[in-house]
């Protein structure tokens, strides 16, 4: 990914053209938000970029896309600007460069984490324990003590939360700051939960060409809700362990497993569908600079669910040890890189939607009709 302040200049140039046209005002939230401004600060542009869901509808509707000399391509410049805004708001600042060559970094993190878990299992036990059959409550903890697992994952989870909260707060401030009302949170929450703006407003999003489809919205729902169900499964397991003393692995009918299987399936279908859609997408609409980051995140989600489901199926076999290390390694790397990868898009998008809900209540500054 190139880090270049000219991204802001180019986005500014394009928004100035769009603001004199406004034909796309009905397509999504970006263009109504744009018409509230006559000029665009860097913060304004980052806000608009994060409001963009990359549905592609405006590209195919635009009379000024290349080969027109105005060369407007809003989905593409906004994809670049989004990753630029992640970079600029990253916390701690030292880690901001992780957004560069992001695909490589995430692949490395995953590999190293998996290796460390395998090595750790071997170091703590004799190597044979890794390939032995463990069953019954507490089987997993014979390979890794529960406390160690909680400390490691709790620690990395807390770090991710803190890093994301601080960077999103920075983004909120650079894009204008201000207080947030409950109704803003709810309106933005609804738009997030339904992906209201990923369909070109009734037209469906565009993927390969000007033919609208709704596939990406469907697959994103699978991914998002799959992730939430997996998260719910893990949270429930924590409660069962600590309050009721029930230790994993759980029976197939236990809600922890049911939620995990359902969520894991969503996390298989969703990222796989999104990867396929990405592969087939019109290259004009996307930014090659951000492709590595996007693919890496989808791949990590896919690996998380695949390794988790495989672990479920093979947990009573000698493969369990290796699969557990694999799964924990992937999840650990996923959590660790949450603040420095595509995962943050959801939080920036939600913040942008909150700003949109907030400013939509204000009257539009008057222009002569």
């Amino acid at each position: 990914m190139k880090l270049d302040t000219s991204i802001h200049a180019e986005a500014n140039r394009q928004m100035t053209i769009c603001n004199a046209c406004r034909y796309c005002e009905g397509l999504c939230a970006v263009f109504p938000a744009m018409t509230r401004r006559r000029t665009f600060s860097d913060g304004d542009l980052e806000y608009l970029a994060n409001l963009c869901h990359s549905c592609g509808a405006c590209y195919y509707a635009c009379q000024y896309v290349p080969p027109h000399e105005f060369a407007v391509n809003v989905p593409q410049i906004f994809a670049q600007l989004r990753s630029e805004s992640y970079y600029r708001s990253a916390w701690p600042r030292t880690f901001a460069p992780l957004f560069q060559r992001n695909g490589l970094i995430i692949a490395l993190a995953a590999t190293v984490a998996i290796a460390l878990f395998i090595g750790g299992f071997v170091a703590m036990h004799d190597p044979d324990a890794l390939f032995a059959v463990h069953t019954g409550p507490g089987a997993f903890y014979r390979l890794m003590p529960h406390e160690t697992m909680v400390a490691l994952f709790g620690g990395v989870f807390l770090f991710a939360v803190v890093a994301i909260v601080i960077s999103v707060r920075t983004f909120w401030r650079t894009s204008g700051g201000g207080t947030i009302g409950l109704s803003d949170l709810l309106i933005a929450g609804q738009a997030t939960a339904t992906l209201r703006y990923l369909d070109g407003q009734r037209g469906g999003c565009m993927n390969e060409d000007e033919q609208p489809t709704d596939r990406r919205r469907f697959y994103h729902h699978c991914t998002f809700y799959g992730f939430l169900l997996c998260f719910a499964s893990t949270s429930l397991a924590t409660v069962l362990h600590n309050l009721l003393g029930w230790h994993a692995p759980y029976a197939w009918y236990n809600p922890v497993v049911l939620l995990g299987v359902l969520g894991g399936s969503g996390l298989l279908i969703g990222p796989a569908g999104l990867l396929r859609a990405k592969q087939r997408r019109d290259p004009q609409v996307v930014s090659s600079d951000t492709r590595g980051m996007e693919v890496a995140f989808l791949a990590m989600l896919l690996l998380t669910s695949a390794s988790g489901l495989l672990l479920l199926v093979l947990r009573a076999t000698p493969a369990m040890g290796i699969l557990l290390a694999l799964h924990l390694g992937i999840v650990f790397a996923l959590f660790l890189t949450f603040p420095y990868g595509k995962f943050v898009h959801g939080f920036y998008r939600y913040a942008a939607l909150i700003r949109f809900a907030r400013e939509s209540k204000l009257p539009v500054a008057g222009t002569a009709d």
Binding site: T16, I17, N19, A20, C21, R22, Y23, C24, E25, G26, L27, P32, T35, R38, A57, C58, Y60, A61, C62, Q63, Y64, V65, P66, P67, H68, E69, F70, G200, Q201, R202, G203, E210, Q211, V364, A365, G366, T367, A368, D369
Partner: protein
């Protein structure tokens, strides 16, 4: 809905088969109907004819990315309706529409064709949606059109995409970057056409022909026949592909003309706009807020005569009449945020003289003009939303409204040029969209739709969104007629 979903099912088969079809395969097939042009009117004709069972070839001069003529730059269509709906804010009866048309044309309209257009415009809201087109409420800055005009969601190019998808689903063949270079017509009957693509010429035989290839506004040499040297300084707001070649072919083959060949719709646009295809973003709404001077730094017309939407279309001609077809709008800091943002930033300076230099105007003369104007401004309450009391006394020409002294720096200036939207010259048609020949008889198998025949309804002036209405109505009529013509005995 069923029609649309059927269309999409069909679409897959057609797409699969057309992948392997080369241009010459397409040219070598027989067609019932040949359509010249690829804008809204052409597609309305193609879809209607294909739904009536005809095989259709559309020949579009532009490449796919630039397809659709001036429809690409449109954003709405004026449609009569007896009641408002969730998008149109109130009723727009046919009678009111008729009054509006009479007002702008000064009666230069064929009443039969005009009434037909306005009556049937009621059908378009549903018809276009059935073809996959979506509507949206009027855009910010265009509230005055919210009742009368149906805005296309995403604009004219989105409308074209929907129409092209539907046409493809119905089996309509489209060939891009191809031109109709000759027509074989005897005694008002069309037999065949020559179509040129990449230097190769293909003969196309079809039972009927629809001319929907627009006007000649992008043909500077043709404009020069009427405007002389001045035409070289015109900017063309729309597609560079409207060169009027099909129009000229027809007029050379015993087809009756309609509309004043010297007239064109011209508005004052930003002088820095591209030569062609600048479209909507090059418009400037600043004129009523200041003064406009020519290259001699002299005012030449009442800038505050009426609201800009009612005056912008006369300013194209006004600027075209000035030396070198150029003018400069001058405003001050108080006005700069009162109109729609412009695509090019204004020139800016802290003194009038400095601003004059940026436009190579005589600084002293501009100073004198501004001071004379300022001295003529009568005090009053400024309100740009009404015909306010701010006017000049003793200035020549006067400024009737919104006249405020230009005194608050920084001062801003925009260069203006005539921006040509369309030409009025076209082919005469009857109520069945049949082309009328010199002997006053309609051709049995030649039809016209869109800008190429709009002069029948719109002899003068313009009414926002009526071009798309005319194109849609006569496109559908032409498509229907052309599909029936193939069954008629010769």
């Amino acid at each position: 809905m069923t029609v649309v979903s059927e269309a999409f099912v069909k679409c897959k088969n057609v797409t699969l088969s057309s992948i392997t079809m080369t241009d010459s395969d397409i040219f070598n097939q027989p067609y019932d109907i040949l359509i010249a042009g690829g804008g809204n009117a052409a597609l309305c004709a193609a879809i209607t004819a294909a739904r009536a069972g005809a095989s259709v070839l559309v020949v579009e001069a532009a490449p796919k990315a630039m397809r659709g003529g001036n429809s690409r730059h449109t954003r709405n269509m004026r449609v009569a309706h007896d009641a408002g709906n969730d998008i149109l804010t109130g009723p727009y009866p046919v009678d009111e529409y008729w009054d509006d048309l009479l007002r702008v044309t000064g009666g230069q309209t064929d009443e039969q064709l005009a009434r037909l257009t306005l009556d049937r415009s009621k059908e378009l809201w549903d018809w276009h949606q059935q073809q996959g087109v979506r509507f949206q409420p009027s855009l910010s800055g265009t509230l005055s059109l919210g009742r009368t005009n149906a805005f296309f969601l995403g604009g004219g190019k989105a409308l074209l995409n929907a129409l092209y998808l539907t046409a493809a689903a119905l089996g309509v063949q489209v060939i891009y970057e191809a031109k109709v270079t000759d027509l074989n017509i005897t005694e008002g009957v069309f037999h065949s056409a020559q179509v040129q693509k990449e230097g190769e010429v293909f003969p196309i035989t079809a039972a009927s022909f629809v001319a929907a290839a627009g006007g000649f506004e992008a043909n500077i040499e043709w404009l020069s026949e009427y405007w002389g040297e001045a035409a070289q300084n015109f900017l063309i707001r729309g597609t560079p592909y409207n060169r009027g070649e099909v129009l000229r072919l027809l007029l050379n083959k015993q087809v009756q003309a309609i509309g004043d060949p010297k007239q064109c719709h011209a508005v004052a646009i930003d002088g820095r706009a591209p030569k062609f295809d600048g479209g909507i973003v090059t418009r400037l709404d600043c004129v009523p807020f200041g003064i406009v001077v020519n290259k001699h730094a002299e005012r030449f017309y009442d800038e505050g005569e009426d609201f800009w939407p009612k005056r912008y279309a006369i300013w194209g001609r006004l600027v075209a009449m000035q030396p070198e077809q150029v003018a400069y709008a001058i405003i001050d800091a108080r006005s700069v945020d009162l109109f729609m943002p412009s695509v090019y930033p204004p020139e800016q300076a802290n003194t009038i003289e400095e601003l004059a230099k940026k436009f190579t105007l005589d600084p002293q003369r501009l100073r004198t003009t501004v001071e004379a104007f300022n001295a003529a401004c009568r005090p009053g309450t400024f309100d740009h939303t009404v015909h306010d009391e701010c006017h000049t006394e003793g200035a020549t020409p006067p400024k009737s409204h919104w006249a405020r002294p230009i005194i608050t720096p920084p001062f801003y200036g925009y260069p203006l040029r005539p921006g040509i939207t369309f030409t009025y010259l076209g082919v005469k048609i009857d109520a069945e969209a049949r082309i009328i020949m010199h002997d006053n008889k309609p051709s049995p198998n030649m039809f016209a739709a869109g800008e190429i025949m709009a002069g029948n309804v719109l002899g003068k002036g313009y009414l926002a969104g009526i071009g798309m209405t005319i194109g849609s109505i006569f496109g559908r009529i032409a498509g229907q007629g052309a599909a029936q013509a193939k069954h008629r005995p010769e």
